[in-house]
Amino acid sequence: MTGTASDARLITPTMLGAWLVLATVPLWISTIGLYPYIGVEILIWSIYALAFNLLLGTSGLPSFGHGAFFGIGAYAFGLTQFNVAANLWVALAGAMLAGALAGLLVGLFIAHRRGIYFALLTIAFGQIFWTISVKWHSVTGGEDGLLNIVRLPVNLGIASFDITDNERLYYFVLAAFAVVVVLMWRLVNSPYGRILSAIRQSEVRTAHLGYNVWAYKLSAIVISAAFSGLAGGLFAMAQRSAFPDVMNLAQSGLVVMMTLVGGGLVSFWGPVIGVIVFLIARDVIGAMTTGWMLYFGTMFVLLVLFRPEGIAGGFKLLVERWKARGTAPEALSSEPRSG
């Protein structure tokens, strides 16, 4: 968690540290009882959660149907690959574009909403997209899924890399993650991002200052949906298939939970921390017991009760305490957001 001085920088020390640690993951992940695919999944969900947090954390817009954009990205990746061009960049662009278009469509209906109505309308749209993905099986394969999606080679013009292996895919997704982190960081710390934050604090006040709140919210929805679509495209590649289930309400709820658990409301890195903790906990507990939901749910309840600011919030608190050495820290909610 770096200080505010680094906010303007393109790349912060925290980012470098995170990338470096993540880059070594394939070397030791097996020795701690995990496996490369979970690493791939963590990075993909991290991209998704960062994109989601542009709405929840930065703009204060709770979207409960975000799985729709993720799922649309996944289908678009497969469909572009099958029908347009079997090129990784084209397929990923297709996933982002489809996510953005869906975001635009939904945004036109909900960008002038706030709070609970915003949340509930996103649920409705999520359900509509889910229903379409199940119903329209000539295109999506319905509940059987859109199968045989290929992990396309990374073609850089001069060289081409094969990423069919999980470890190679991991590095490709890590590169995508790094790009998304930089873009999101710049976005959040740009004048545009500050206006989104202002909207989160008070829509009325921001409007009185002369900003077109509706346009800002709509654009945030579109950007968030586009990156969620990108994550979905990567997920389709990891899973080699796309299914409707990532679009359902429970799965859409997961990204909200991960973001909040990690501390997305108080920290840029919160969503990433949440994803890491959430997916590893689920995998480890799930391997030990088929009744994993009980332990997982209990953990969840305890976390909300005793660390409602999330893990990043708790960590921040510790740092503050250490810095203050005895003087009581201020309430977290009044702190500025930082990385």
Binding site: I38, G142, R240, F243
Partner: protein, 437 residues
């Protein structure tokens, strides 16, 4: 042997195995019969064969997933008790596939790359089965699809490494429809779940109805997750068909059954109902709501040699289980696992290609499978072609588990899905990555 992320220290493996056992007994899903309770007549120094059991324990198929899980574990215990397979002990790991494809992919990746499982067993939902197949294809891991009855599993979504053990929607339609058109009536209405399984089953039914001189007067598509069927049931009464062919699955079907029996729409004078397969774990919760004619691949009171002994054996192994007798889901799990072990012994190897070849085209006697006719594993589609039974609610049960009255049994050749071989394209054996255990 193909290795994937082999755990160098290999520490927590045992913990995982024990953990799953512990909870299984905690959760009351059956008595604990760990492999090491039996005599250890395993060949010295040979490493165990570790199976990945991809069974749902939560979500829509959690109940059936655990039912097949119990039967698979039973086979493993039996074989371990008599010295394992090829003298090697069989171990297993399991994790909840949550009735969700995303979880299916993750669990399959975990079992193959982390636990080094050469074989995966278990599936109910076609999406989960396909998600697992996509992973298994990549590594060449054999996957036994025990209970997903979508026709597409042995059609367009077939795979060289996947074997399909259940009868599918087309098989059941073929067993029921021709006869029903002739004996009951020509005016049919279809009540179809609006997703792939429903549509493909309805298409098979429609073709058969029309081929036999009947006609479809309406096809009501029912969205997935429908809990309230009254508007459809009222509509049916207004349209007045002679026969209704349903392809409704899962929780939707359970709700439909309740509502039809409450209305007594299944009584004489009303329309006749031709249903698809009714899974035993679903029936057990509400046997009183069975209606019409339906299919099954096995029943625990079939009047065949070996059936009572099998039921007894199953009951001894599952004393505190939630369901007192085995049904089709448990049966498929048992038969799949048993045939797998036999195939390994026949192949004399745990090489995946050798096992696949030992399974392909393999004939299984009626006696051995406790069905009326011989069955075989179709080499072109990897589906087990087997006897299909039609049944209805039993009005004269001999005990409190006797819910089916078996009406007929049809030979595999008469219920075969003729379209499947044209849709299924298996990759050549030498294109499958080699796996050994």
């Amino acid at each position: 042997m193909k290795k994937h992320g082999k755990p160098a220290l290999g520490v927590p493996r045992r913990t995982i195995l024990k953990g799953s056992l512990m909870t299984a007994s905690l959760a009351g899903v059956g008595a604990f019969y760990g492999p090491w309770h039996h005599n250890r007549a395993f060949a010295q120094g040979k490493k165990p064969i570790k199976l990945g059991l991809t069974n749902d324990s939560s979500g829509q198929f959690g109940n059936s997933g655990q039912d097949e899980h119990r039967a698979i574990r039973m086979v493993i215990d039996e074989w371990n008790a008599k010295g394992g397979v090829l003298g090697r002990k069989i171990e297993w790991v399991t994790a909840d596939t949550e009735s969700s494809p995303a979880a299916g992919t993750r669990v399959a990746e975990r079992f193959i790359t982390r636990e080094d499982c050469p074989i995966l067993i278990g599936a109910l939902h076609s999406g989960v089965a396909n998600a697992i197949t996509q992973v298994a294809n990549k590594y060449g891991t054999i996957f036994l699809n025990t209970n997903s009855s979508a026709p597409s599993e042995a059609g367009e979504n077939c795979s060289r490494i996947k074997f399909v053990w259940d009868g599918n929607g087309t098989n059941f339609s073929k067993a029921a429809v021709a006869n029903a058109v002739k004996t009951i009536g020509k005016n049919w209405l279809l009540l179809t779940n609006d997703y792939v399984w429903g549509h493909s089953t309805a298409a098979a039914t429609k073709a058969l109805i029309e081929a036999n001189g009947g006609k479809i007067i309406d096809n009501l598509l029912v969205p997935q997750n429908t809990r309230d069927f009254t508007s459809y049931l009222l509509k049916i009464q207004q349209i007045k068909p002679q026969v209704i062919g349903t392809a409704i699955a899962g929780d939707d079907n359970k709700a439909l059954r309740e509502q039809i029996t409450q209305l007594k729409l299944d009584r004489p004078g009303g329309p006749a109902w031709i249903n698809n397969q009714q899974d035993w774990p679903d029936v057990w919760g509400s046997p009183q709501s069975l209606f019409g004619v339906f299919g099954t691949s096995w029943y625990h009171k079939l009047n065949l040699p070996g059936v009572p002994e099998f039921v007894k054996k199953w009951q001894d192994a599952n004393k505190d289980g939630p369901i007192p007798v085995p049904g089709n889901v448990s049966y498929n799990g048992y038969m799949a696992t048993q045939e797998l072990f036999r195939a390994i012994e026949r192949a004399g190897s745990t090489n995946n290609i050798a096992i696949i070849k030992a399974l392909e085209g393999h004939k299984m006697s009626a006696k051995d499978r406790m069905q009326h006719f011989d069955a075989y594993i179709d080499p072109d589609t990897h589906q087990v072609q087997q006897t299909i039974y039609l049944a209805r609610k039993n009005e004269k049960p001999v005990d409190n588990t006797d819910h089916f009255e078996i009406l007929s049994w049809t030979e595999p050749k008469d219920v075969m899905d003729d379209a499947a071989p044209t849709k299924c394209k298996l990759v050549p054996h030498d294109k499958v990555p080699s796996v050994d255990a």
